[in-house]
Symmetry: C2
Subunit: 418 residues, 2 copies
Amino acid sequence: MGKGKDTGGKKVSPLAPSRFATLPPLAGVRLATVAAGIRYAQRTDVLLAVFAPGTQVAGVFTKSRTCSAPVVWCRDKLKGGNARALVVNSGNANAFTGKVGQDGVREIADSAAAIVGCKPGDVFMASTGVIGEPLPTKKITNVLAGLVENTAAGHWRAAAEAIMTTDTYPKLVTAQAMIDGTKVTINGIAKGSGMIAPDMATMLSFVFTDAALPASVLQELLSAGVGPSFNSITVDSDTSTSDTLLLFATGKGARHTEITKASDKKLNEFRRALDKVLLDLALMVVKDGEGAQKLIRVDVSGAENNAAAKRIALSIANSPLVKTAIAGADANWGRVVMAVGKAGEAADRDKLKISFGGQVVAEKGQRAAKYNENLATKAVSGRDVEIGVELGLGKGEARVWTCDLTHDYIDINGSYRS
Amino acid sequence: MGKGKDTGGKKVSPLAPSRFATLPPLAGVRLATVAAGIRYAQRTDVLLAVFAPGTQVAGVFTKSRTCSAPVVWCRDKLKGGNARALVVNSGNANAFTGKVGQDGVREIADSAAAIVGCKPGDVFMASTGVIGEPLPTKKITNVLAGLVENTAAGHWRAAAEAIMTTDTYPKLVTAQAMIDGTKVTINGIAKGSGMIAPDMATMLSFVFTDAALPASVLQELLSAGVGPSFNSITVDSDTSTSDTLLLFATGKGARHTEITKASDKKLNEFRRALDKVLLDLALMVVKDGEGAQKLIRVDVSGAENNAAAKRIALSIANSPLVKTAIAGADANWGRVVMAVGKAGEAADRDKLKISFGGQVVAEKGQRAAKYNENLATKAVSGRDVEIGVELGLGKGEARVWTCDLTHDYIDINGSYRS
């Protein structure tokens, strides 16, 4: 993640929710947090989740070629499909830390396994913070026994706070769904802030359900769900070494019909609820992008295909010139033209239509006949900005979200390690 | 280009050369500039260059799918290989201006051709400034007759100034070379500033020589020369709609041996001189990147191949997190690890070696044993920063340049059109 700066005293993002979701207890999940002094003083930085026996797990991870030690560990252990514990620390990413980093992961897994009473391979892990600093492993293993004793069915807010780095608010979502007449619950938490351009999974996010679903089904649901959620957001085009999204299913909620395939229609409602949880968490991440003052939604339609639409949408969402213009409430649609043009996908200048907040500002190869500067400026002046691009070539569509690029991003990242 | 803001009163880049090159007259080239009021008051914004009969031309242009009307024109007229005039305006990019924009180009070509006494197809053109605003064509055609009368063999500095937008200094380079014992001269000018991520050519740059070389030879030299120069710089990853690099050869210098092939060994010295002119101009562009306080050179070696090396180098050079860290003199090599990891090219964490200013900071999958924070900080504290990445996989190499990302970039681009 490369993140780990203390945000104490930093003002909360203006895009933060007015109040945080209160997550209900989830059968089979117990949580505890502690301030272990990984990097900051007086700030919780280790989260332990203990799962009931039989809990199944799925995950998606960064595609980075320089991924962190815990990502390597999780990817391997996911093959088993079983999870009994999750250990997360903030303040240190344990990325590019060599053998020391790998050994640290192993020590934490062994230690947690002994305390929880499971196999080391059932312990999952994630780290977020500075890249390249050796992980102070002992600070984590030393607190595990105490954490286990303090686990409780609640503590969701504390859990979301313990994984924050430059985040200005905790990210929590809950949803319920029926599986063939039986109610199940999904709780999710996430952290993000900078180095956000997920390429497979994203940031750290952990989603938990009391439903009884096998790992293979969870994996299929999760892999499909990340496309339009975490993989459709970007803060700064920089993909983290540590992106980790894990989905745990304890099977300790009310008993429901057995499900063995992700394509089972009885899962439709659950799938929708899960997708919504993933999207809500992803949007919370982008709304808390470093320095973010505005949420920008980019809708591209009429592209040759969906992949082309997504590349064009990301070209717009990652353009520093588009993002600084929006920050300055400048309806500079010419920069959207530029970003479409540089994406490397088919585009026809004379078929292109661009809109801000639903208002067409450019079409037929030039400024729209009805263009109104005041209305265009108004469309980019609020907290929520919508950019629409219709290419007029095919049926490809994509929607991505980003935030504006402001002075705070420079401030936060100019002296991050110090 | 999407650029066109008045830089009056803005301080000159600290990376500007201490003095500007004085370009000698070039046989067969006459220049004149005027303040036509395209966008700003009291600022020269139209450049006319008139070439001797027989002048040959080559060019490379933006790969943008939404390129400007003058780019479309030049690309077409280049087929003839002959040039008699060049008309450049700043303040308006004539991009995404529809039929009005195309008609404007035609009117300017017709008007210049009538005045100079040539075919419209021998008139080349480039425009830089805001995208999407209709070009005030008449303001240009009205001044052409007066410009022709004022052309002179000098005026190079004025020419470089007339094409500036958010540039804080004019960009001029001159070089000499021998072709089989005969001395020839190359003069070049350029403008850049923001929206700089050339993908074939770059920004506006015009290079002139008095050598007698056919268009086919010029084109081969130019296409090869842009790779390690203009196509190896980036300010903000945003590729312009207007990138244009034209090379004119008047053949009016001292008579030299006839050259018919770019591979002729007699051209070696000329080729080296041309390559140096292109590189010097490109470096001047990146040193004047919007808000630039530091020049960052990224050297990648040991990649699978040269293309992979270049993608990795650009991934580093375009990373907002790397660029803000350098701006803040933070030796955050973890972000270089991240940028290597996200590039999508083969990389092996444990073979990767990273250096700042020649000092190894990370190797063998972790922080270098001899890492010294003070020395690392010193290496990123000056005006010139060198980032070295050795992948240890193959023989692929690349060198690219960028600048740091500072508050001034946000200021310049937050209210650019207003």
